[in-house]
Symmetry: C2
Subunit: 330 residues, 2 copies
Amino acid sequence: MTQPALLAEVTRGDILESTHTGHAVIVSASGEIIDAWGDPYRVILPRSSCKMIQALPLLESGAGRNLSDPHLALACASHEGEPRHVALVERWLGDLGLDVEALLCGPEASRVEDYRDEMIRERRAPGRVLNNCSGKHTGFLMLGQHLKAGPNYIALDHPVQIAVKAAFEEVTGSPSPGSGIDGCSAPNFATTLYGLARAMAKFAAAVEGTDARQTAMVRLREAMMRHPGLVSGRVASCNDLMSSAPGQIVAKTGAEGVYAAILPEKKIGLAVKASDGAKRAATAAIAALLVRAGVVEADNPKIAVWLEQPIRNRDGILTGYVRAAPAFRA
Amino acid sequence: MTQPALLAEVTRGDILESTHTGHAVIVSASGEIIDAWGDPYRVILPRSSCKMIQALPLLESGAGRNLSDPHLALACASHEGEPRHVALVERWLGDLGLDVEALLCGPEASRVEDYRDEMIRERRAPGRVLNNCSGKHTGFLMLGQHLKAGPNYIALDHPVQIAVKAAFEEVTGSPSPGSGIDGCSAPNFATTLYGLARAMAKFAAAVEGTDARQTAMVRLREAMMRHPGLVSGRVASCNDLMSSAPGQIVAKTGAEGVYAAILPEKKIGLAVKASDGAKRAATAAIAALLVRAGVVEADNPKIAVWLEQPIRNRDGILTGYVRAAPAFRA
């Protein structure tokens, strides 16, 4: 088995304090590996990085035909629980005739400190609608209604998850070797890192009007790029990476150090997995790969801050950096 | 260079989701390596794991002669900012005729959710006294007064840090190859993982009355073991590990995946560094090494929960585990 490659280095003063290894792969529209580091065939759980795949049946079924771009961006989001995210999910649920208790994702506080503190002051408990996956879950609920299926849409044998799994296996190009329960309680299907990047490449190369799948891919891809702040939040790497080159990058993080990216103009897909699950490493590596792919410059401020992440201590003193490994930056 | 060894595995369902590698070493009272995994000569920043070393000059100088065990435990603590921690640091500062503004550690909120929420409701800002290192800093201030030195006790050329560095190099057994600025703004001196474990072994084998150093080591070691809740907090791995076998284990975590332990009855020192800086991995590994060293059983509930750490999602569903690597558990 190919050993993981160096993804990122963490320094403090002159000392190399920590290192992150992992796997990365760039795949073409035809499914060829263009470049790889570590083991592209490592089996991974893509976690939230595959939300655009999980949203495909919502559109392909026709259930989400009339959804706006903001709805679709939220269906693919790991949002920060800002008021705009919450309001849109609540409105969407209302349009479906459902209340927030229909959501089967667990309760979460807002990830934005100001809003979290406001909730604490007002003694409002963490809520399911604030869960960073509440848009995905609302999409699942909408698909479930369309399929006239029952309320437990996160069960592996529920029509919604059967549809998600089928789409997932088709776009990754191989049967899923297993699944885990995600942070939001929905199933998360495993694939290889290559499989994830291959799916991203299909999203990148999709042409509207070709067929239901490609049309859905284009709609989701474009919705995410038009609303990067709905896909993540004001202060979040996905927002920065997508905003660094508007219309050229879809970037989506997943828990445990996964990052996926779709580059429509280049018609390639990218995927990164930090072996140890570190988000800081996956983010540095994907930022470096976006530069390497030629869609953005390293000195673009929205990229630079992730390529070389300053570490500040509790008094705001700069104590070190997380830096993408030189091999990615060459 | 010796490659890092597997420290811990993270599973979700049947999928091996992430892995952590790193280095570990067990050292005898005479400074011999008893057992090692990965590279024991890896240079590390011990971060908070070496607070008992940083507290040595406080006692050896005579400055802290009359300090109680709770004070000494706090001087070695990464506390959680519970009211008892804050009250004791404030009282200690008052006894020195200082107020909290003398502290040069940055402001922090309580790490205990209930107290943090209370602070937010009462609109109390994060404070320096709540910084997890405020006990160490108060010890530095006391030593600084004793040495009649100036207020900037975190400067590398301040008499306090000169004394800390000298003690650090003596107990680790070699010159420090550099330093970084810690999360609390104090210098943190580098050493090898072996150096850290060697120092821990000296703490383990120290006999009261032999000399000022050994007497100080015994006082700090005993104070930490008597007050594990002051060294960390109610819900913290250091507290659990020390409480699992009262009087037999000093365990101290440090940022970026460091863990050190002193086993007085066995007269050995232990140190672990997760290459990637992951606390969850270092904690699993040190728990396994404590079992391996024969000071505690694997089924002791305070150990078991760190050997095999359940991962629960936002709805409380068990989704996976962080488990110490089999090599440590053999």
